[in-house]
């Protein structure tokens, strides 16, 4: 193997029933580089990584690592670990009911006995050095998704690793946490670790990585140096055509939205997880909650949907008083909610794509009125087509779809119920650039047809592009509402951080 190369993969093939996930893909990783792996949803990024880490056996191809003459075969993540290959998977795979420290060291303690004290001490040091806001003895489930993600990273880097793989590590982190992670990545890079970085955020790729490998439909498009590949070209290579200009997306003006009839209104609504707040949305309006992670934006929309036990408040829908105590009440009143954590709250992993798509509609129709097989088939095919869901068939279990495609299925599930009020919590998480704009476009189209949409996203630009009104939250309170000219990046950031721009 050439000098300075820690890993090469040659001619990797992997077939799943009905799909060729990888077709003769090559990949090379050098010492001390951050190498971005890019491609649309379902391009094969996660599969390539799972082949590398022994989760899936490969059908063909060779893998070489630095320091070993012949091709190696990796049959399990433990074996990968022994070659110095550590991974943080796309879907967090820790144990929520263990403590942070246990999660960091479980299955990796030397010898038979566990020295709890030493383990906790070591965990504490590591968390500190990485700046992760968690205590070793804290139960993992009590941490936010972002912190859980960082614990997973801490777990991976703690071993003597030569290759670190991060599969969409930033999709649930806010800007500050992303910066923190990047600092850590550069640190490791300086120590000579080769990092494989999978993400759908183009800016992040250009910020940290040195090289980019692009996949499309399981095929290798090529390997490029970052400075030599303009962003537009990268996107064109990923999706195989030019991306439509984003400026075509045109949201309505703030003035127009002010004239709208009120669709949904809540007064002093509170749940076990959220403080009392006032909120309304007009017919055909798109508004959004923004704020740092943990500011209470997700908890607020969960209260609207009755996802957490509601403790008080008055709610009206189209002027009529309604009672929302549980999700079914909200659904019956035409409210739909796409949850933030797709793996925990969204997908029914072993069920087919079809069953996952019809689930909410089926529940609305009631237990005695099953949707016929033919009808379900029709609904599923319609939305698979409309949203471009990549799946072998509508019979495929949703758990075997790529992350982004799972998200589209959940979106399809709620669109199928034709809600009057659609709440989307991070709908574009893990979705590729092309589809992201399509979803934004879809949101605006639905609004034009009269649907009200509340949108939450960690990406402020995305919110600015679609929302005509932004509700800013800080420390679980609403601290401002921005409309019209106030909807600029700097203004929003300012309000979030607690500077001026408040309407209070």
């Amino acid at each position: 193997m050439k000098d300075g190369i820690v890993l090469t993969m040659r001619g990797i093939c992997k077939r799943f029933p009905g799909v060729m996930a990888l077709d003769r893909v090559d990949f090379t990783l050098r010492k001390g580089e951050i190498h971005a792996l890019m491609g649309e949803n379902g391009a094969g990024k996660s599969t390539l990584i799972k082949v590398l880490t022994g989760v899936y056996p490969k059908d063909a191809g060779e893998i070489h690592v630095d320091g070993i003459e012949e091709a190696i075969s990796i049959r399990s993540p433990q074996e990968a670990q022994s070659y110095g290959i550590s991974t943080v998977y796309q879907e967090i795979s820790l144990c929520p009911n263990l403590t942070v420290a246990e999660n960091m060291f479980i299955g990796r303690t030397e010898g038979k006995t566990v020295n709890w004290k030493a383990m906790e001490k070591r965990a504490g040091e590591l968390l500190d050095s990485l700046g992760i806001p968690a205590r070793p003895r804290q139960q993992l489930s009590s941490c936010s998704l972002a912190v859980q993600q960082m614990v997973a990273i801490a777990r991976a880097v703690d071993t003597d690793c030569k290759v670190l793989i991060l599969d969409e590590p930033t999709s649930s982190l806010d800007d500050k946490e992303v910066a923190m992670l990047f600092r850590l990545m550069r640190d490791l890079k300086a120590r000579g670790v080769g990092i494989i970085f999978v993400t759908h955020f183009l800016e992040q790729v250009y910020e940290v990585s040195d090289r980019i490998t692009v996949l499309r439909n399981g095929n290798l498009v090529g390997e490029f140096e970052v400075d030599k590949l303009p962003q537009v070209q990268l996107v064109a290579m990923m999706i195989g055509r030019e991306l439509q200009n984003l400026s075509v997306i045109k949201k309505e003006s703030g003035a127009a939205s002010a004239r709208r009839e009120v669709r949904y209104e809540a007064k002093q609504l509170s749940s076990t997880e959220s403080r009392p707040f006032d909120f309304y949305i007009g017919k055909g309006e798109v508004n959004g909650f923004t704020g740092l992670l943990g500011s209470g934006r997700s908890e607020s929309v969960r209260a609207i949907f009755g996802a957490d036990p509601v403790t008080g408040g008055e709610v009206t829908m189209d002027g009529k008083k309604i009672r929302v105590a549980k999700p079914l009440d909200a659904m019956k009143n035409g409210i739909a909610y796409l949850p933030e954590d797709r793996k925990r709250d969204g997908i029914i992993a072993e069920l087919s794509v079809r069953d996952n798509i019809i689930l909410a509609l089926q529940v609305l129709r009631g237990m005695g009125h099953p949707i016929s097989r033919a009808k379900a088939e029709e609904f599923a095919d319609e939305y698979i087509e409309a949203l471009g869901i990549k799946t072998a068939s509508s019979d495929t279990p949703i758990g075997s779809l790529s992350g982004g495609n799972q998200q589209k299925v959940i979106l399809a599930r709620w669109l199928l119920t034709h809600p009057k009020y659609l709440i989307l919590d991070e709908p574009t998480r893990g979705i590729d650039v092309g589809t992201k704009t399509e979803i934004q476009r879809l949101v605006l189209k639905l609004a034009e047809e009269g649907m009200s949409v509340t949108f939450i996203s960690s990406e402020i630009e995305e919110m600015l592009r679609t929302c005509s009104r932004l509700i800013v939250m800080r420390d679980r309170n609403i601290v401002g509402q921005l409309t019209g000219d106030e909807l600029t990046q700097s203004h929003v950031m300012h309000t979030i951080a607690g500077g001026g721009g408040d309407n209070e």
């Binding site: 056996p57 999700p327 079914l328 909610y337 992993a349 529940v363 005695g368 099953p370």
Partner: protein, 360 residues
């Protein structure tokens, strides 16, 4: 190659029904080699002068009835709650006791009385099922632990119901339920099983129960956010199992014409759980195929009858059974399935390579 045949083969290969079908097939072949006439079915006349079917095949199908019915209900509980109910035997004893109690309380045993007795024992068993279910669904107690309560005290409750006696009932109606309806040569328990099967098929066809149960079993949190009442669904699965216990209890009592609370369907809970497992259902809940459990139950019964036919002493039967069951369960485990799949791929590849060389 015949395309349709290979398609069916591919379906079976990936199907969870493979293991119970193989098990049944092996038992059939084994018995036929041992005794070519083993499965011959004959028509004879019973004491009442009615024509009835007879033979080992019939006694397997007949004898498995209670187990099949219980494993149908157990499948649902397993899928919804991710755990098993170990109190089904005890609950069937309670139901049987209630059944007999009602029959003994009145004067003559007429059809309406029997129907009333059945409905009451059903209601009682479903109430106990609801008790188990609420421990599981409302208090989040592990199903095995929750049902341990009734497992422990259920047969005592059955004892109290009839004041400690083991009363006998004799009536042509009870006889018809336990053995044959005059004029119909098929044992009634088999007919009841078919009826239960039809009932479940209709339930799955005309309600969304199976979708809800699977959703709750796979991802309770997501099911709840889609408006499914997961507490209600778990509870319902236990209530349905309760009804199955009542039916099984009634059959058991009618076979003997008496209720023995100590021995009625004793140890059947383990066989019912095994039937679910052999049927390829995940004991951790989620997706299920009831037909798998049914085949599993028949496989277990076929094994038992085979062992008895081989004159294995009844004290040893359990040990033999254990060996076979270990084999079956291991055969159905993901590890073995994967290994078999890999072997198949390699065999096919080498065959293809060989064919290629032959052509060149």
């Amino acid at each position: 190659m015949n395309k349709r045949k290979s398609k069916a083969a591919a379906y079976l290969k990936n199907s969870q029904l493979l293991v119970p079908l193989i098990a049944i097939l092996l038992l059939v072949v084994f018995n036929l080699i041992r005794d070519p006439g083993f499965f011959s079915v004959g028509l004879t006349t019973n004491n009442n002068g009615d024509p009835v079917l007879q033979g080992n095949l019939i006694s397997i199908l007949n004898g498995a009835s209670e187990l099949v019915i219980l494993s149908m209900g157990m499948t649902l509980v397993t899928a919804a709650s991710g755990g098993q109910d170990i109190s089904v035997g005890a609950l069937a004893a309670i139901a049987g006791s209630v059944f007999v109690k009602v029959l003994k309380s009145g004067g003559s045993i007429s059809a309406p009385v029997v129907l009333g007795a059945f409905l009451l024992c059903c209601a009682v068993a479903m109430a106990f099922g609801a008790f188990n279910g609420s421990l599981v669904a409302l208090f989040n107690i592990q199903p095995m632990i929750a049902t341990l309560i009734l497992f422990t005290c259920g047969r005592s409750i059955a004892y109290w119901i009839n004041g400690g006696a083991t009363p006998t009932v004799s009536s042509p109606i009870i006889n018809a339920i336990g053995s044959f309806i005059p004029g119909i040569p098929i044992p009634t328990p088999i007919l009841i099983v078919i009826l239960m099967g039809i009932l479940f098929a209709l339930l799955f066809r005309f309600t969304t129960l199976s979708l809800y149960i699977q959703s709750v079993g796979i991802n309770q949190s997501a099911a709840r956010l889609n408006g499914i009442n997961s507490v209600g669904i778990k509870l319902l699965s236990f209530v349905i199992l309760g009804a199955c216990c009542a039916v099984a209890g009634m059959i058991g009592v009618s076979r003997l014409g008496l209720i023995n609370h100590e021995t009625l369907l004793i140890n059947i809970e383990m066989d019912a759980i095994l039937a679910v497992a052999i049927g390829g259902n995940n004991l951790g809940g989620g997706k299920f195929k009831m037909i798998g459990s049914v085949l599993g139950a028949y496989a277990i019964q076929a094994l038992t009858i085979t062992l008895y036919a081989m004159k294995v002493p009844s004290t040893d039967v359990k040990a033999y059974k254990a060996v076979v069951i270990v084999l079956l369960v291991v055969m159905g485990s993901p590890v073995v399935k994967e290994a078999a799949g890999r072997l198949g791929t390699r065999l096919r590849a080498s065959r293809r390579a060989g064919a290629g060389k032959g052509a060149a």
